[in-house]
Amino acid sequence: MIPSANIPPGSIDKKWSNFKSSCELVAPANRRKFRILVVGTGLAGASAASALGEQGYEVLVFTYHDTPRRAHSIAAQGGINAAKNYRNDGDSVFRLFAETLKGGDFRSREANVYRLAEISVQIIDHCVALGVPFARDYGGYLDTRSFGGTRVARTFYARGQTGQQLLLACYSSLLRQVDLGNVKIFPNHEMLDLVVVDNRAVGLIVRNLLNGSIHRIKGDCVILATGGYSNVYYLSTNARKSNASAIVRAFKRGAGFANPCFTQIHPTCIPATSEHQSKLTLMSESLRNDGRVWVPRNQEDKSKDPRLIPEKDRFYYLEQWYPSYGNLTPRDIASRAAKKVCDEGLGVGPMGLGVYLDFADAIKRLGKDTIAERYGNLFEMYQSITGENPWEVPMRIYPGPHYTMGGLWVDYNLMSTVSGLFVIGEANFSDHGANRLGASALMQGLADGFFIIPYSVPHFLATNGKNKISEDSPEFIVAEKAVSERIKRVLSYQGNHAVSEIHRRLGKILWDKCGMSRSHAGLTNALSEVKELAEALPKLIRVIDEGEGLNYALEHALRLEDFVKLGELMILDALERKESCGGHFREEFQSEDGEAARNDEEFAHVSVWFNQNGLRLETEKLTFEYVKPTIRSYK
């Protein structure tokens, strides 16, 4: 059963301070007695671990990377939102809250989203103190820019590498705690199972990737900060190693999984050009501030040099369909619009899956220097991947899987349905509803790690005390044995394909039928295809046994098994949600002009899946007291 969301009492602007002033605390001298396990070192994990280290807890951190600095937060480009209102353009905490709620198509919890907006201002203060070289104006003050889905300029940025600079700040902060002896880091260690006793998380089973050894690790609570699952689609903007195994393992151990079908397809990726492409590269959404999106009006112009297509033959579809937001409509809308024009046969580039993102007007208006200052590294990146020069020819872009709003269910304290299992950052479902606004992922990761966990974890420890299950208990031993056996089993598979080939197959099923647009028929079909794939896996895959050493194919095979499980869950959830909202677009449920048609009467809820005696769906009702759900219009 879904536990209470534990929303604190009081009006929405008082809830967080009410919680902070009433939560239980652990006295400084006692903190060292508690051991906290953190999995993942992205923005959320690194910030949580360092903040808890600062408080004086014993913190153990696990990452499958060779160093915490590799986590995929590093690739975020555009920026981080904060309601500082430095621009005097009408921003406020309430407005950031309301826009995030609306951007998420009213499928998130008001109290959580308000707290996120409230904390946003502290994040910028702390990151500046840590030495993040944010963009500045000539007076030395912080600069901001605008992003999709908003009408204020509240996005702080560090060139096109905001994620990198924020992650490196968290990494430094984390290593400071290592220097001080509060935190211990285990690089090259992957979590392969969660140990749960009487519905309390008591530890982890981890594998040392360099020598294959398996370890039992006991803790008083566990924090998963393991990111999102876009790689379920194989081709996505996520890094190659990003995976869902930690959250799928927790799901198998009793944690509820919320809204698995809420995935975000980002409108501005570099289009795929070949079957063997290994990933999609994102071009920051900030490009839509100055770039204009268009396709040729006439199919016969598709293969023409775009520069020779006269203005009257260009279809600036976003500007025409959504005049008030234009090229800055939210991601889900911009993505679907691109799909729509490509489905109509107007797409450009190889395979006809692309639209132009054109900077010619902006270069004319602002000069090459200004554009280079804003997006220089993105232009270089585009050129190195495609071999085309975006200063001369418009970029080609196409939507690609980018972010997952779904994730493990958490209450207001960011605790899952398993007691003592906290889930933060992209790995949880909490703040973005059915669609995330740009520059909000970095905000959420840092809000969770630096500012929320340091209250909610001590509250849990003070209330529940130490975990008394030892690493030599039968529960730990059984869990470890299961992991070893699973590895042996995977190594015994005698298929004829590399893991990546089968992963690509899973990705294609999900992208075609559970991607940008979904239908009952397609989903039903995909469900049986994924189930077939799951059964056939042992006969398809081959992993070369490399003994005790590093084995990337084995790591990938274990992750693929979990992706297959998750793929099935995504499809089931998409079938059950008989409405369109945010990134979840069901073809049967659309308005006359083809926009998503939400059904608030039946679906204003969080869908929470449990894996106990088969799959079971429960719902958490969402109520809206402060912002009345409206039909999202960006026209």
Partner: protein, 242 residues
């Protein structure tokens, strides 16, 4: 196109390594070099041969995970590119590419092209941070940073910790890596209180970790995918002696 590959194979640190030859025929020049290796690995797996281990993650040049020598140069020596950003169109048909792991200083080979760069974390742990705990920060705009200073700090902060600088250095020094962090933090007003201690601790730690000393050859600067300038080293040395 057709590409010949000569790849360093080594099962682990203690076993001897050797070069193994491979040929990729009819590959698209739009593939990246790492995608070509993925393709080769799929083939090796089907043939029940041990795939080639190489590191990579983001595949867009920002995480710093990837990196090996391509024809003797870290990341191939292409300006501003990491290994994962090298596309086959950079080469000519029937070219031979020699791929070897980053060697230098305390970098140890783990398997094939994968090396252990964990000493970098130890250098950052020795003061590569600003001591600000959550809760202490003042209002962000109360710390003014002139635009030029913020930009200069950024240029150094762009380091991705890939290790190309060490692999290129005849001394196996990590001075460019170490100094980039010192430059980033010491240039900013927030980093000044710990400036001297940071510089001297980090440089000592680098030497202690087994990296060579810097003699300003400048090889590091020429291969740095983030184009970090040698000037950060002069700055860091001055800061340490201040």
């Amino acid at each position: 196109m057709k590409i010949y590959l000569k790849i360093w194979r080594q099962k682990n640190y203690s076993e001897p390594g050797f070069f193994e030859d491979f040929c990729l025929d009819e590959v698209s020049s739009d593939l990246s070099l790492l995608e070509a290796l993925d393709l080769l690995n799929e083939r090796l797996t089907r043939e029940s041969r041990r795939p080639i281990s190489f590191d990579s993650d983001c595949r867009e040049g920002i995480c710093g995970t990837c990196g090996f020598l391509i024809n003797g140069r870290p990341h191939g020596g292409f300006e501003g590119l990491t290994t994962c950003q090298v596309y086959l169109r950079k080469f000519k048909n029937e070219d031979t590419l020699v791929l070897e792991p980053f060697r230098g200083g305390p970098f140890r080979i783990i398997t094939d092209l994968v090396v252990d760069r964990s000493k970098f974390d130890e250098i950052i742990t020795a003061g590569g941070y600003i001591s600000a705990s959550v809760g202490q920060a003042p209002e962000a705009n109360s710390i003014l940073v002139p635009k030029e200073i913020a930009e200069e700090a950024f240029d150094a902060a762009a380091c991705i910790g890939c290790g190309a600088c060490v692999a290129a250095c005849p001394n196996g020094s990590a001075m460019l890596f170490t100094s980039a962090k010192i430059y980033h933090l010491n240039k900013l007003p927030q980093g000044r209180p710990e400036a001297k201690k940071r510089a001297s601790r980090m440089i000592s730690k680098m030497i202690e970790s087994g990296f060579g000393a810097c003699s300003l050859h400048g090889e590091c600067e020429t291969v740095c995918p983030k184009k970090i300038s040698l000037k950060v080293i002069n700055f860091a040395l001055r800061e340490a002696r201040r």
